[in-house]
Amino acid sequence: MYEPKIIGFLCNWCSYRGADTAGMARLKYPPNVKIVRVPCSGRISPELVLRTFREGADGVMVLGCHIGDCHYATGNHRTAKRMPVLRNLLAYSGIDPERFYINWVSAAEGEKFATVIHQFTEKIRAMPPFSEVVG
């Protein structure tokens, strides 16, 4: 069985704190997700996600604050607008859109963070490696 490489872009104010909460509660989750902390999930440009795939990631996840809770008021509205378009574009390019995951995790949702990481890792693990699929 192969170990999938997953990159997680986490917003500093909610999801990254959510990861801290999960850690403090000593919740177990798979270590496949390499976390990149960003100031806001709105910072994640489509280019960044595409390049992450180009560099060989098997899955990419973007986690941000819930809509309405953004530290910058409407930063995650940007995420909610362009990430679904990018997801569809991946599907139109023949790349499984399931490899790209967007969700909202608040600083208090340590348990949700662990569940989300767990579910996504298992989903990616069940797929063949990205490099094999694209040849």
């Binding site: 390049r51 795939f53 180009r54 607008k81 679904p84 139109y92 390019s93 023949g94 040849g135």
Partner: protein, 274 residues
């Protein structure tokens, strides 16, 4: 096609005294059609007026208006160019108050050529020709029937031929940024051919054309290797219309979705988790 040309010539002749120039297409001595600014002093040049092959004029218009900040111009535009001009005005590139639109209606054959869904102009005050009906985009619909592996194979085959000449970007009537992400080494590596998967150049361009592509199909026309680039753009345009109820170049007052925060009901249509 033949009856539209004299009618357009007449319309331009009538308009010439009111404006400083009319931007249209002219057949040069060698038979090549290029953009040309017709002015009242040289009205004789109108004899060489041409309408086909089409050539995107919005970017030419933008450059002239920028160089002459008070000039009032008229422009011959098909529906796709009209969409382009409206979009550019939304992005503060063209002042619509200084532009008179002369709408040139496309014929059925021209609409077939462009696989155009909406070839009839809607904003132009003066129109030439009969508004035509749209045709279905069979190339895009056929592509949509493919499964995931089929789509990947389809693009791999096509992008294998891409020589990264940047012709599709250069001809695009909506590419007006001073700094282009496609020239940034971070995203698109110089000299990397064939395209990596995902094809950074094409997907970054497709993302940047979201809610901007005017469906003129100039990128496909200019591509030396005949890549059906419009498929990506048109599929995304359909999604944007569905998710954000935004049709490129339709309503002048409606702001593009990336200018605004989420509106009522939009989030539900994006398919993101609640």
């Amino acid at each position: 096609m033949s009856e539209r040309l004299p009618a357009l010539r007449e319309a331009i002749r009538k308009l010439l005294p009111e404006v400083e120039g009319v931007l249209g297409l002219r057949r040069g001595p060698a038979g090549i059609v290029t953009p040309h600014l017709f002015v009242a002093e040289r009205a004789g040049e109108l004899d060489a007026l041409a309408i086909w092959p089409k050539e995107p004029l919005p970017d030419v218009l933008r450059k002239i208006l920028k160089a002459h900040p008070t000039a009032k111009l008229a422009v011959v535009c098909r529906r796709c160019e009209e969409r382009g001009i409206v979009e550019m005005s939304k992005h503060a590139q063209i002042d619509l108050a200084r532009v008179t639109l002369i709408g040139l209606q496309c014929t059925r054959a021209e609409a077939e050529f462009c696989r155009c869904a909406k070839p009839a102009t809607i904003h132009a005050r003066i129109t030439v020709g009969k508004p035509g009906e749209g045709v279905a985009d069979r190339v895009t619909d056929d592509f949509l029937k493919k499964d995931q592996a089929g789509r990947l194979a389809f693009w791999k085959e096509h992008f294998l031929h891409c020589i990264k000449c940047y012709g599709c970007r250069n001809v695009c009537p909506q590419c007006f940024c001073n700094v282009c992400a496609l020239e940034d080494e971070t995203w698109v590596e110089t000299g990397r051919l064939p395209m990596p998967v995902p094809p950074m150049y094409h997907l970054v361009r497709a993302m940047h054309m979201t809610a901007k592509c005017v469906a003129c199909r100039e990128c496909e026309e200019t591509c030396p290797t005949g890549i059906p680039l419009a498929i990506h753009f048109r599929l995304i345009a359909r999604d944007v219309e569905e998710m954000f109820k935004y049709e490129t170049g339709a309503a002048i007052e409606q702001s593009p979705p990336h200018f605004l925060v989420l509106e009522e009901g939009e989030y539900e249509r994006t398919g993101l988790p609640h």
